[in-house]
Amino acid sequence: MGLFKSIFGRQNKSKLTAKSRLQVVLVQDRTGLSNDKMSAFKEELVEIIDKYFIIDKDAFDVSYERESDSTCLKINSPVVVRNKETSKKVRVVSGAKVKNKSKNKHKQHNHKNNQNKRAENN
């Protein structure tokens, strides 16, 4: 098993570390918000969304991404929305374009069935 792992397993690719570290530090650099301010921003956002939706706070994420024609503040906020049969988990990703050079607004809706043991509310 160990041999199998050493042939086919790739331990600790340093480039993956580099990539994830860069993605974190660049959000700070781009938004000009320190770690503390970014945490405060996320907490306030979560509070607001929490008033209207059931929110998966652990999966909540804010990123600031650049595409060739614009930059975008992306808020990834998995929420639970009730329909007739069951509560399905819905991921709402909305982007507020900082520089609106592109033609379309950036909104994606993904529906996912989830076995998550989230308690039903309301």
């Binding site: 690719k13 480039k15 990539k19 660049l26 650099d29 991404e65 520089k99």
Partner: protein, 273 residues
């Protein structure tokens, strides 16, 4: 190898491109010299400008260090005529250098001075490549002042990418369109997972890519001799810079990873293109 002047296209008005990076040592000067030489080989009258006042290097990379009489500051302060300060390169009658001053600091000229100087040269040159200093202070601002577009040179390393990102933001604030060059890529390290790939860098920075230059010892040799690497047919970096120059001129050269198969590497080592 000097280009016949009759093959040179007529200049309407030149395009000024700033070569910048944020971080020092990523290859801005090498890129400026190499692209300048490549564009000149294609019949474009090209001026390369060393905007790194106080730390000039473009002259050395081009082998022109003994021919400097006047410099950028002299032209800005009208100590000399613009035509007196530019130095024709050794190998091409289409390539000229405007050197930096070595004794002043970067605050000695203003953005307006630079705009005036560059706009004047635009009448005579198809392309003006401005080698920016590292950093984001006055030297960088001056380099951008007259630029129509930018080339951002980064290596696939954490600090270079971070600084490049900052530069992209600053250029964007000035509405300067930027394209990316990934320099010193080592495909073996990428394969091992120890170096960010070109796609990684592109994804992180979110800027269109114009070229990729492999790590190449020929660049060191070229610098030692003061001859830009594009004159070396056997150099992958030379080929890469030639391709970038072609893209700048509007040719559609596809961006692709070189062959990594055994046969591909063998043919590359034997000097085949």
């Amino acid at each position: 190898m000097s280009v016949n002047k009759s093959k040179t296209d007529k200049v309407k008005t030149g395009e000024a491109i700033v070569v910048t990076s944020g971080k020092g040592g990523t290859g801005k000067t090498t890129t400026t010299a190499s692209l300048g030489a490549a564009l000149a080989m294609r019949g474009k009258r090209t001026l390369v400008v060393d905007a790194d006042i106080g730390l000039r290097n473009l002259d050395v990379i081009l082998g022109l260090e003994n021919r400097i009489v006047f410099n950028l500051v002299d032209v800005a302060k009208e100590v000399c005529k613009p035509s007196q300060a530019i130095i024709k390169s050794k190998k091409s009658s289409n390539l000229f250098l405007l050197p930096a001053s070595q004794t002043d600091d970067k605050d000695v000229v203003s953005e307006d001075d630079i705009i005036r100087v560059i706009e004047n040269y635009k009448k005579e040159f198809h392309y003006i490549l401005i080698d920016a200093p590292a950093g984001i202070e006055q030297g960088f601002k001056n380099s951008c002042a007259a630029a129509d577009s930018a080339l951002i040179v980064t290596t696939p390393e954490v600090s270079a990418i971070r600084d490049a990102d900052r530069i992209i933001g600053l250029l964007s604030a000035r509405s300067i369109d930027a394209k990316l060059i990934v320099n010193r890529i080592d495909y073996e390290l990428v394969k091992r997972g120890d170096m960010l790939s070109v796609d990684d860098v592109k994804e992180i920075l979110g800027v269109d890519l114009i070229g990729v230059v492999e790590r190449d010892d020929n660049i060191i040799v070229a610098a030692n001799c003061g001859e830009p690497v594009v004159y070396n047919d056997k150099s992958s970096a030379g080929q890469a810079f030639n391709d970038i120059a072609a893209r700048i001129c509007g040719d559609n050269i596809p961006l692709g990873k070189p062959k990594t198969s055994f046969f591909g590497r063998l043919t590359r080592r034997l000097g085949a293109k």
